[in-house]
């Protein structure tokens, strides 16, 4: 009996030893207990930002198809805005953005439990918190622009996106566009109020937060606010727009043109190229033309000879940038996501819309001069009103072609979008302004399991029993 008693005692003792610490896994309650771990978790949120630059560019008017486009049916269907292809694209986009949001939702409440020692730790923690808020706002803003309607008085109460604050299973409805914007502004304010000393370009620093804010304000039509957030960033812009900084953007080197550029170890932007010998599925749209002196051309246009058929080689203007880096086997390390020139276009457009046309032209001229493009004439009657706005956006298109920003502008500005046959020989179809497809569909993986969510107008819903 004594023996049994000893064993019983041993068992009780042993059951206390079941709290096994795993060296490569961290479980609550003290999973995120140090500043370093918080930073590492935040990094995985950065790392999971969806990389949809190719798809968004294909959906926009940046590209035209080639004779190879047919071999990549999925992408060609996307180019032609086929419902099914957009649906598939939408389901990964939605999922991936919310994955990033989920990681941030895991991080933010756990920041309260992080142990800090000294002021340096405190500052680092504040910075992490600021970045987390900003990144969440960034994701929400992208989602809102992809899934929600554009900002008008009529649309304010329409469905925006799902605002998710907690890391747990929830079945949430979509919030109104206004509530979404309020949340984005709230997050950006919270981010800006915190001390943010992030220096690496792949973290969201103070300036990146202001840049996002400027773009949000432009999007919701508060032009003065857009100018007030954007303009301070452009104080030394001219010194950033050098040839070296421009060239370095398409390399693993530092470029002062970058405001926020997620770091990447993987391959990037490989979806455009069929193979290095045959050419690309899509090439630059014919209406993107550069002046001879324009320093952007060298890195935007990649001259190539594609064999349309064996006997008929064709000189083509393939996309340069990351695509050229792929051809030349250069490593992509930074995805240029927010750039100083982008802020410049935001402010210039805000000026133009805010009846400060001369400010707009003068700001643009600083930029154009730096890029080696003849300056605009302030007195040119063609550079007023809508024409000025168009001109700004035309330059923006040249600067950012292939980088996935154009689609957002097309959606915001309205207007028809042409789809071309191979090499742009003819217009094959037109996506009208107000077409239902400008709002991406809520994916099946959401609405099938969430009865509270509503589908965007005209998109099919598979019956749920």
């Amino acid at each position: 009996m004594k023996r049994i008693a000893i064993y019983l005692f041993a068992v009780v003792l042993a059951s206390g030893c079941l709290d096994i610490k795993l060296e490569d896994q961290y479980s609550d309650p003290d999973a995120i207990s140090t500043v370093q771990r918080a930073r590492e978790l935040l990094s995985s949120a950065y790392n999971s930002i969806p990389r949809i630059q190719v798809q968004l560019s294909v959906l926009s008017d940046d590209f035209i198809p080639t004779n190879l486009s047919g071999s990549y049916a999925e992408m060609l269907n996307l180019y032609n805005w086929q419902e099914r292809a957009i649906d598939d694209f939408s389901s990964t986009v939605w999922m991936d953005y919310y994955m990033t949001v989920a990681t941030l939702n895991a991080l933010i409440p756990r920041l309260d439990n992080v142990q800090t020692e000294g002021a340096e730790d405190e500052a680092a923690l504040a910075c992490i918190r600021s970045e987390a808020y900003a990144l969440k706002a960034f994701c929400y803003f992208d989602l809102l622009r992809l899934y929600g309607p554009v900002w008008t008085d009529d649309n304010m109460d329409k469905d925006g996106i799902i605002l998710k604050d907690r890391l747990e299973l929830q079945f949430l409805p979509r919030s109104s566009v206004k509530d979404c914007i309020d949340e984005i502004i709230r997050l950006l304010d919270a981010a800006a109020d915190l001390e943010n000393n992030a220096t690496e370009v792949y973290y969201m620093g103070k300036d990146a937060i202001s840049a996002i804010r400027a773009e949000v304000e432009l999007w919701r039509g508060d032009y003065e606010a857009a100018i007030s957030y954007g303009l301070p960033l452009l104080g030394d812009a001219a010194s950033r727009w050098t040839q070296t900084d421009y060239d370095n953007m398409w390399s693993a080197s530092d470029s002062r043109e970058r405001l926020f550029a997620p770091y990447i170890f993987d391959t990037f932007y490989t979806d455009l190229c069929y193979d290095r010998e045959s050419g690309d599925y899509y090439i630059l749209n014919n209406d993107i033309v550069f002046e001879e002196s324009d320093m952007r051309e060298a890195w935007t246009v990649y001259p190539y000879t594609m064999a349309a058929d064996t006997d008929n080689p064709r000189q083509t203007r393939n996309l340069g940038k990351y695509n050229r880096m792929y051809y030349e086997s250069m490593d992509v390390r930074y995805i240029n996501t927010i750039r100083y020139s982008g802020v410049c276009f935001t402010v210039a457009e805000a000026y133009a819309r805010n009846n400060q046309e001369s400010e707009a032209v003068s700001l643009m001229n600083t930029y154009l001069e730096a890029r080696g493009v003849p300056a605009w004439d302030e007195t040119d009657p063609d550079l007023t009103g809508d024409a000025l706005i168009q001109a700004v956006l035309e330059e923006k298109r040249k600067e950012f072609v292939g980088e996935g920003t154009r689609w957002y502008d097309l959606k915001r500005l309205g207007g028809d979008l042409s789809r071309y046959s191979n090499f742009g020989n003819s217009v094959s179809s037109t996506i009208r302004e107000g077409d239902y497809r400008w709002l991406l569909p809520i994916p099946r993986a959401e609405y099938r399991y969430n009865e509270t969510v509503t589908q965007n107008p005209d998109w099919p819903v598979i019956a749920v029993e």
Binding site: Y7, A14, Y26, E40, L41, Y98, T100, L167, L172
Partner: protein, 1017 residues
């Protein structure tokens, strides 16, 4: 002492090697035959029968308890029969020709008998009276020439279902009474493996040497399993190893050598003439049959002045192609060989005994480059501790290596059904694989996996006071699995990857270490007071499981299969990457048991075990497994009425929590590092969306059975069970705005019920001639009883058919009823729910789908046959399954897009090509994408086939050389036998395509025929 040890030596030798031994009668000698049984009339195989005072003159009983003994003419002869744990019985020989012995248990025998301690200390006697335990006939397993122990268990016990899953060396699926969880896969449904009381991994089990195994028990119901606690929710496979003996040292060498064969042709493919004709009809210019046909030239060059010449030239090319008829089945697959060498030494005395063995086995697979080889070794030592106990030690190790040329993205085995008959290994660029030659298809991938196993177990069995047993076992089992995978730089995939030359060649090296530590201490007290037999016991055990996986993948190795050759200067997507997962779990348990038997007639048994696992958070840590059972031995009422030789009822009920497949990250927020980085920062990632309300599954089983014997010749065993899993876990899809697509949740209740029955009969039972037959069948049915959220559950957002539906089986295959092909369109027409015809381009709804059949066959069983005639023994095992259906992949039917690959014989006449084609099997090759869904998304009543099959899984013909025949060796060779053994010789099935078991065109179990020789010195 000397004599008794010698005698026992004889017993043991006889037990091991010649249970069927018999002697030819010779003049001047007399033959005594008969049977040795226990009190219940059960035969005692391996009992020893001998002339008292002359141990040289003895024999032992066969598996059915029969013996025949040659006696010299003489007086005063006494015959003794003995059996371990039984009282030895002596009779006087007075010239009778038949003599049966009934041996009684010897309660004091424990201290004298040469039994070693009980290795599986949870194998308490009382358990067997109420629990359902099947004992595997290990001899039959040993007779199967197969390298994989788990596959050779197929058909060895009703309800134990073993399914081959692919090529040689891959792990089969083992289930006891079906899946107990909604979750698929091994981690949630695999049984627990216990070797001599020590928990081992399924990988370790796979590589055990069958000849080192003395017995395997399959524990199926709650009563039998509950002693193992929550680890045993999926049943237990309990293995006992061969131990030493009290007797003269016996050295045995056995050799098996033979041929492994290509096996059954999954489908007959076309010859060149038919293939070229098919190509012409499919009109794809990627295929020569159309490209060089008259049709082609007339269509594309109708006005060419040289048209006739072009046609003639095309004809000449086609004629040349027709000359070649490569049989790729024979070209790519091969016959190889099988061999097994086994050397064992066994011996000892009444205090100390030992067993040591070494084994080498090799089996070649069907595809060159696919083979398995294995070395194992085992040493065990048993030492008596005074008169009251034993200590046992054993050490075992193994090294096994499996090679495979089949990768995940590429499998040369499938080329058998893709390459065209008009192509050959030397024919240059292939039509079936444009831009590639035959050499670009083979040697593209190479994988070697090795398993190094090491285990050591120590146990102590003490009986300090009569009736009180204290048993303890502790052991460690370690399996180091390594794999080395190479895609050489010369592989087509690498050459065309676009990577620079010094970055080509991918190598993955993985090392997975799985360590199991077990300790178990059990105290059992047994007391008999008159007719009352009480047993009480308690135990405490501790299991530690440590899984440490690490792997690295690098590039630039060229063709070198070495991690050292990785080019570490590569940056970007081809940079060297490593990954690591280290998971440790521990479980502490404490259990009690009580049993009572009245008058040898009524048994009741109960057990309760509480286990605490590190997997769950503190507040949910303790979970219980308990069971109660009762047995009623009706036979004890009519002991003397012989027609009914046995009648016994059993029933049990139990409840077990199941933690299989649950990891800490599912219940609380757990983060781990990715093998990537962001800038200069590591990436810490949330492993999964956690569910803090997660509970373990609860398995409730109810069981009833009856055993029945007639005239000691026929015995029946019938059992019914119902196993209900409550709070069943499943990865349930959730709205993706949660950031994850699935969450592990307790979703419902499912049941698994079935009937298992077996009959064995002694058809012929004469001295020289015996024929035994055994027939078994198991039926398993599963059903969803309840789902907590609604009546249906769809695990995919695209599904229109629920994966789980209340009241339905969850392995059901759904699809529409096909009414055959429309002779006008060549597309299938389906019958809708309302009876109307639905065309292929219409969208089908849930109501149009009907249940087509079970994807897991509900019935399985075996037929075992044993036939003995003098020194000749014949055994055959058949294994069958029926009641299930499988969808035909039709991957060998070619349409326009894949017209350049070879097709099934007869496709030309069975395919619809033009309006008016009646009664065709395969739909039109020309169709628009609007019908794709209905053609490919689900099976229909015409695209499935019954997966029933009957397989001759083992065949053995053995001849035992008699003592006389071995006389010339002057005693050097004590025993010898030779045998012809075969496994998986043939499979009979109605399934038209591939292998009804694995469902793949390649990777069926291959037939093996061997010759074996066993010598004992």
């Amino acid at each position: 002492m000397k004599k008794s040890s010698l005698l026992k030596w004889v017993v043991v030798c006889a037990m091991t090697f010649c249970p069927f031994i018999s002697f030819a009668q010779s003049p001047g000698k007399y033959l005594l035959t008969g049977r040795v049984m226990d009190e219940a009339g059960e035969p005692l195989p391996g009992a020893n029968v001998y002339m008292r005072g002359d141990i040289r003159n003895g024999t032992s009983t066969d598996v059915n308890g029969y013996y025949s003994l040659e006696l010299p003419d003489g007086k005063d002869i006494r015959i003794e029969a003995s059996f371990i744990g039984m009282k030895t019985t002596t009779i006087e020989y007075i010239g009778q020709s038949e003599q049966d012995f009934v041996l009684k248990p010897d309660d004091n025998m424990m201290m004298e008998a040469v039994v070693t301690g009980r290795q599986n200390i949870n194998d308490v006697d009382i358990r067997a009276k109420a629990g359902v335990i099947n004992v595997v006939d290990v001899k039959r397993i040993q007779d199967k020439p197969m390298i994989d122990l788990s596959l050779s268990l197929q058909g060895s016990a009703p309800g134990l279902v073993v399914t081959n899953r692919g090529d040689l060396g891959s792990k089969p699926e083992i289930r006891i009474r079906g899946n107990s969880s909604f979750r698929e896969g091994d981690t949630a449904n695999e049984p627990l493996y216990v070797l001599d009381g020590q928990v081992i991994s399924s990988d370790a089990f796979m590589t055990l040497n069958p000849l080192d195994i003395a017995d395997i028990k399959i524990l199926k119901d709650a009563v039998a399993c509950a002693l193992y606690g929550t680890k045993a929710a999926n049943g237990v496979i309990e293995i006992t190893s061969v131990r030493g003996t009290d007797g003269e040292t016996l050295v045995t060498y056995s050799f098996n050598g033979g041929v492994t064969m290509r096996g059954r042709r999954a489908v007959q493919m076309m010859d060149s003439a038919e293939k070229l004709e098919l190509e012409r009809l499919l009109k794809n210019e990627e295929a020569p049959g159309y490209r060089y046909s008259e049709d082609y030239y007339r269509r594309y060059y109708p006005n060419d002045p040289n048209l006739d010449q072009m046609i003639a030239e095309g004809q000449a090319i086609l004629d040349r192609l027709r000359q070649t008829n490569t049989d790729w089945f024979k070209t790519l697959l091969r016959n190889d060989f099988y061999q097994r060498h086994n050397l064992s030494v066994r011996g000892g005395n009444s205090k100390t005994s030992y067993y040591a063995s070494a084994n080498y086995s090799y089996q070649g697979g069907q595809i060159p480059g696919n083979d398995v080889s294995r070395f194992t070794g085992r040493i065990s030592l048993d030492q008596a501790l005074g008169k009251r106990g034993y200590v046992s030690l054993s050490v075992n190790g193994g090294y096994s290596k499996a090679d495979s040329p089949n990768g995940s993205s590429y499998s040369p085995s499938s080329l058998v059904y893709e390459l065209n008959p008009y192509e050959s290994p030397t024919s240059g660029e292939l039509w079936s694989y444009p831009n590639r030659t035959y050499d670009d298809l083979v040697y593209q991938y190479d994988r070697t996996s090795t398993e190094k196993r090491f285990g050591t177990t120590a146990s102590i069995n003490l009986e300090p006071v009569d009736g009180l047993q204290v048993d303890a076992v502790a052991g460690i089992d370690l399996v180091l699995s390594e794999s080395l995978e190479l895609i050489p730089s010369t592989a087509y995939e690498e050459i065309n990857s676009g990577a620079a030359e010094n970055e080509r060649g991918r190598l993955t090296k993985a090392k997975n270490t799985n360590t199991n530590i077990t300790t178990n201490v059990r105290v059992t007290y047994n007391k008999v007071i008159g007719k009352h037999d009480f047993t009480v016991g308690a135990n405490t055990d501790y299991y530690w499981d440590d899984i440490d996986n690490m792997s690295l993948t690098g590039y630039g190795v060229g063709t070198q299969k070495s991690a050292a050759a990785i080019n570490q200067s590569i940056e970007g997507s081809r940079k060297l990457s490593t990954s690591n997962l280290h998971e440790k779990t521990a479980q502490v348990g404490i259990g009690v048991l009580g049993g009572y038997t009245f008058d040898g007639t009524y048994d009741i048994f109960g057990t309760y075990k509480a286990d605490a696992s590190s997997i769950l958070p503190k507040d949910k840590r303790w979970n219980a497994a308990w069971a109660v059972g009762a047995g009623w031995n009706v036979k004890s009422y009519f002991q003397d009425w012989h027609p009914v030789s046995a009648l016994r009822f059993k029933a049990s009920y139990g409840r077990t929590a199941n933690l299989a497949g649950v990891s800490p990250s599912l219940a609380m927020a757990t983060f781990s590092y990715l093998d990537d980085s962001y800038g200069d920062t590591r990436l810490l990632e949330l492993m999964s969306l956690y569910n803090d309300t997660l509970k373990p599954e609860q398995t409730v089983s109810t069981e009833a059975g009856v055993s029945f014997g007639l005239f000691n010749r026929v015995s029946f065993d019938v059992g019914w069970y119902n196993r209900v899993t409550e709070d069943a876990l499943l990865d349930v899809p959730i709205p993706s705005s949660n950031g994850f697509t699935t969450l592990k949740r307790n979703i419902g209740v499912l049941s698994n019920s079935g009937i298992e029955a077996s009959v064995s009969a002694k058809i012929l039972d004469m001295n020289d001639l015996r024929l035994n037959l055994r027939f078994s069948i198991a039926y398993n049915r599963n059903k969803v009883i309840d789902l907590y959220d609604g009546d249906r559950l769809y695990t995919s957002e695209d599904a229109i058919i629920p994966d789980f539906e209340v009241g339905e089986a969850y392995d059901m295959l759904y699809g529409p009823v096909s009414l055959g092909l429309d002779p006008m369109t060549g597309l299938p027409v389906f019958r809708g729910a309302d009876g109307r015809e639905i065309q292929a381009d219409e969208t089908l709804t849930r109501d149009d789908m009907v249940a087509l059949g079970h994807s897991v066959p509900p019935y399985s069983g075996t037929i075992n046959l044993s036939f003995t005639w003098r020194n000749l023994e014949f055994d055959a095992d058949f294994y069958y399954v029926f009641g299930g259906v499988k969808q035909y992949a039709y991957s060998y039917v070619r349409y326009y897009d894949d017209a350049n690959k070879n097709a099934v014989k007869g496709q030309v006449s069975n395919m619809w090509f033009k309006p008016g084609d009646q009664d065709k099997m395969y739909h039109t090759p020309f169709y628009s994408s609007s019908v794709i869904e209905n053609l490919t998304a689900w099976p229909n009543s015409k695209s499935i086939g019954s997966s029933d099959y009957l397989r001759l899984s083992m065949l053995s013909l053995r001849y035992r050389l008699s003592e006389k025949q071995l006389e010339w060796t002057k005693g050097a060779i004590k025993y010898a036998n030779i045998a012809l053994q075969a496994s998986n010789l043939f499979t009979i099935t109605r399934y038209r395509e591939s292998d009804p078991e694995s469902g793949s065109l390649v990777g069926q179990q291959q037939p093996i025929v061997t010759l074996s020789l066993s010598l004992s010195f």
